[in-house]
């Protein structure tokens, strides 16, 4: 366990230069991009002296190296700064306003992708080189190549407009949360905590189409990976031995899956970052009020501090998830040591 602790500390320290590099790149890109947040916000009617005053107040007239140092020092102090537009709210408050929606969508999208990926991958692996396998491999390629907004719109049309059985956008029915205060911001969880099962049900209904969209697109990669690993594991000696000893196929499969799972776990960690990216497109399609749509909007307004803060936050978030995945390795496979 001491080795694991050292590993966690080293991995955590390694996150710092990653975030620092990312922050520097984002800082440079934003300054190289044409325009500035003040001009974007006040529009064409504002007099030049007013724009200058706002730039001065926001510190945008300082030399770039001074702005950079100010920002880095702020981050070290845990101060992500304030947005440069609309009321100049603290960036962290903006992030925490939008993060729960993305987390909720990501979790459900993740679950859907894992379920579909594991089932299709296992079936394809077991039935390798048959028609079923070919069909599922074809599915994985199509799913991987699907464009999220297109798939989302198809779902909206079929389930929302033609069949009218599922909502096509938003997190919850309008007006349902009046007089109700969230606890974590995750509606399903909060509904359970506060005993508002109408909210739980309604939130789940709203989650179906976006998480299916996200989950299906991301399941393609799992299908292929699970299939390849299953084929590999199923041909190994210990599986033959297990079968020779008369173990039921289900038990054999369980052993095989457990062994095939380690590379899949790595994939899960990597997919999490892709999930967040996918969530941006899914959020836009389903009017989901999460981080993706928020970040896109702020990029449009060149809101330096918010963009920088959000990206740093994401970087830390993804690093932590990957770290957790690495730790899970050790727990799943005792052979792995750090």
């Amino acid at each position: 366990m001491a080795a694991l602790r050292t590993y966690i500390i080293v991995r955590t320290l390694m996150t710092i230069p990653i975030v620092f590099t990312l922050l520097t790149i984002v800082f440079i890109i934003l300054r190289v991009m044409p325009g500035d947040p003040i001009t974007a916000m006040v529009g064409m009617k504002a007099p030049p002296e007013y724009i200058e005053r706002l730039k001065e107040e926001a510190g945008l007239n300082k030399p770039y190296h001074v702005q950079y140092m100010d920002y880095i020092l702020g981050i070290i102090r845990g101060d992500f700064g304030r947005s440069l537009i609309w009321g100049k709210r603290p960036v962290l408050a903006e992030i925490f306003d939008h993060l729960p929606a993305t987390i909720e969508l990501t979790i459900f999208g993740f679950i859907v992708s894992i379920i579909i990926g594991l089932i299709t991958g296992t079936v394809a692996g077991v039935k390798c080189y048959t028609k079923v396998d070919t069909t599922l491999r074809l599915y994985s390629i199509i799913a991987y190549a699907l464009f999220i907004p297109w798939l989302g719109m198809m779902f909206q049309l079929i389930f929302g407009v033609y069949l009218k059985i599922l909502p096509i956008g938003g997190r919850i029915d309008p007006g349902l949360t009046v007089g109700w205060n969230t606890v974590t911001g995750l509606y399903v969880l909060d509904g359970i905590i506060t005993g508002r099962y109408d909210i739980v049900l309604n939130a789940l209904q709203h989650l179906i189409l976006p998480s299916l969209t996200l989950g299906i697109v991301l399941s393609g990669a799992y299908t292929r990976l699970v299939r390849a690993n299953m084929i590999d594991v199923l041909s190994q000696d210990f599986i033959r031995a297990a079968r020779a000893r008369g173990l039921s196929e289900l038990k054999v499969l369980r052993h095989a899956l457990k062994n095939a799972f380690i590379p899949i776990l790595t994939m899960m960690g990597l997919q999490f970052a892709i999930l967040l990216t996918g969530a941006v497109l899914t959020e836009t399609t389903f009017s989901w009020p999460g981080m993706g749509t928020f970040l896109l909007e702020r990029i449009k307004y060149v809101d330096y501090t918010t963009i920088q803060g959000t990206i740093v936050f994401f970087a830390i978030f993804v690093s932590v998830v990957n770290l957790v995945v690495d730790i899970l390795y050790a727990l799943i496979d005792p052979r792995i040591r750090y």
Binding site: G87, V161, I168, P174, V178, D198, E249, T284, T293
Partner: protein, 532 residues
Amino acid sequence: MAINMKALFIAAVVLIALGVVFFAVSKPPVTSPTPTTTPPTTTPAVSQIVIGVTDKVTDLDPSNAYDFFTWEVLNNVMEGLMRYKPGTTELMYGIAESHEVQEGGKVYVFHLKKDLKFADGTPCTAQDVVRSIKRVMEIQGDPSWLVTEFVEDVVAVDDYTVKFVLKKPVSYFLALLATPPYFPVHPDYKPDEIDSDQTAGGVGPYKIVKWVRDQELVLEANPYYHGEKPKIERVIIRFFKDATTLRLALERGEVDIAWRTLNPADIESLKGNPDLQVIEVPGAAIRYIIINVKMPGTDNKLVRQALAAAIDRADICKRVYLDTWEPLYSLIPKGMWSHKDVFLEKYGEGSNVELAKSLLQQAGYSEDNPLEVELWYTPTHYGDTEKDLAAVLKEQWEATGMIKVTIKSAEWTQYLEFTRKGALQLSLYGWYPDYIDPDDYTTPFLHSAANAWTGSGYANPEVDSLLDEAAVKETIEERTPYYEQVQEILAEEVPITPLIQGKLFVAAKKNVGGIVLDPTMLFRYWLLYWKE
């Protein structure tokens, strides 16, 4: 093994399918014309209308809010001394009951209605009006110029009397008073800083009961409102990220009204839906081309006139906007007093190629020596159609055979910077009014002391003097001839070419009544009702 795997797969598929069906069938009925669709256990059933928009509420503080949709919301939860009569551009009293103009238009004294209250029952007096306006002056947010440019001082004479001392007489001061920076706000608003998320509101027909940024805004009737009580108890604004989802939500019944802004193609399609109504009225938004009068080529008046003559506005409306905009032949929009179709009178309807050619020849150009111009647009700020607008203009101008157009684009912020520096020769722009008055459609574009932002370099002392005169005359009858003359000069000198005027579209369920739109572009939620 084969059987087991098959069973496992089938079981999983069935489970997922069952899950979907379970949630689907357990979905409460879709929003119906009658009250609340899904009454939450903790709130009573109330009459409710859901409005979907792709806009956003930027800032609930009138000292800093400066966009149309936020102003619309503020107009529903606050009220100023003056307001517009719904369906018209006529001004009427809001929280004032009378007023006097003194000292030749330099002093305005307003008498407030008695027993005005904020939505929580706190009394609203003249002191609150003064506090709110001074707060705007002190905070100096984006729209503060609507106060600071005109008001020298504002004082509460007593609990029910507010006195404004202006820097100089301003004939459209009453129109300014109908803008949010002049609205009284609840004492809960921070006194000396922007309070963007404050929901205490003002003395309007509705109060804010819930606001989840970018998700929903829930309004309920203000029990203390001094005017007629809203017919709908609760109005919910749902924020959508794109117009297509908004359209689908309307078709599915998730929203009762789809408001700003549907795509032109969606509007056309929704018109054919028998369960919906699509309402269309002229809007106050205009589009135009700023022409740089200092740049070689367009510094020649004949060239500018030729460019104006070759434009076919109806063709633009049809091809680019599917007739969701209409031709505009002056900077002052149709429907507003003093509007004159000056470009129509001078250059005719459609593309007047012969006139354009003749003017270009007089300017020294020919088919062998064509005029070369740069037309700039910004790709996203005015929507996806901007590129098409530039392409159609290029086609129309090049149809003369004597003009060669190069199309260029820049992102919005860069576009603004280029414009201010006077670096663009021809640039496409749009205008939403701050106050509904011809002054707001002329002075910012043509007065040399106010048009630096256009980068056109246009200055004409005669126009300056006409606009200054028009601003101090008191009646519409007195002011009209001045604006008519300014429009005549505009058509002659063409520092700006008007192109098109927007229409407003609302798509709603058939049984939604009380949708009243007008060029102020403000949707009054308190007039809405469900038809029997």
